[in-house]
Amino acid sequence: MKKATNKKDALLLLGCPELPVQTSIALYLANRLTNAGMEVFIAGTDAALELLKVSDPDGHYVDVEKIIKLDKCIESLAEKRMDFYLCSVFVHNDAGIAYLATVHGISKAKLFAIIFGSDADSISEQIEFKCGKLVAKAVHNPLPLKRKIDATMKEVKRWAVSN
């Protein structure tokens, strides 16, 4: 596992992969962030990471060395052995809110919640601390979430260029 060290490191922390849009949006966002000059790391459950690897067999979008098991990622953040400039946490259930709150507590990264699924609005309302939110009721069709990401990428590009 490559260690995240510089100011252009971004982490995508995936949730349960049961909703189809997660993998495609993760690959899309990884690609956009890479093109914006960021080094992209991805953490998730074994199944979420296998979905990524199978979808991107030649590693065009995600460097295999920057794929991190979820527990290892939380451990490294909690022990302050690793941190990121930007972190996007994928949230579509209650556990996702718990992971988002945990990253908020143990990392100094600029934090974005990517909130999707049929209960996206209700989940968004339950997040009581300050973080960026991209909210779309996307389950099967990634386009509503993609549009939100496209609108936010201008700001991310500005961060990447200025650091």
């Binding site: 459950t45 527990d71 451990e75 809110i97 992971y99 709150a101 945990t102 143990i106």
Partner: protein, 90 residues
């Protein structure tokens, strides 16, 4: 998930929301401590929305355990060292 699943534990509640787990711990145990997300208990770093509540009963700790696809569990495990650390941290 971590090696905690290979240890001897009892599931008190399963497939609940994190808030439901917190309320259960707060209402059903006398000796309750609050910790921050990332607190190390046994071999895991606790996941959750602060305040995360951990209870002590006899020689066991009762705590929330979050799994990405299965929600929150409330687990009960024996842990003399963990109890000492919690009491000392107060």
């Amino acid at each position: 998930m971590g090696c905690i699943e290979l240890m001897d534990y009892k599931i008190l509640l399963s497939n609940i929301s994190f808030k439901e787990g917190r309320e259960y711990i707060r209402r059903n145990f006398r000796e309750v401590y609050e910790v921050e997300p990332g607190y190390k208990l046994f071999d895991v770093y606790l996941i959750g929305v602060p305040p995360i509540q951990i209870a002590i009963e006899d020689e066991s700790v009762i705590f929330p355990y979050v799994k990405p696809c299965r929600g929150t569990f409330v687990l009960k495990m024996e842990g003399k060292e963990e109890i000492e650390l919690l009491r000392r941290s107060k």
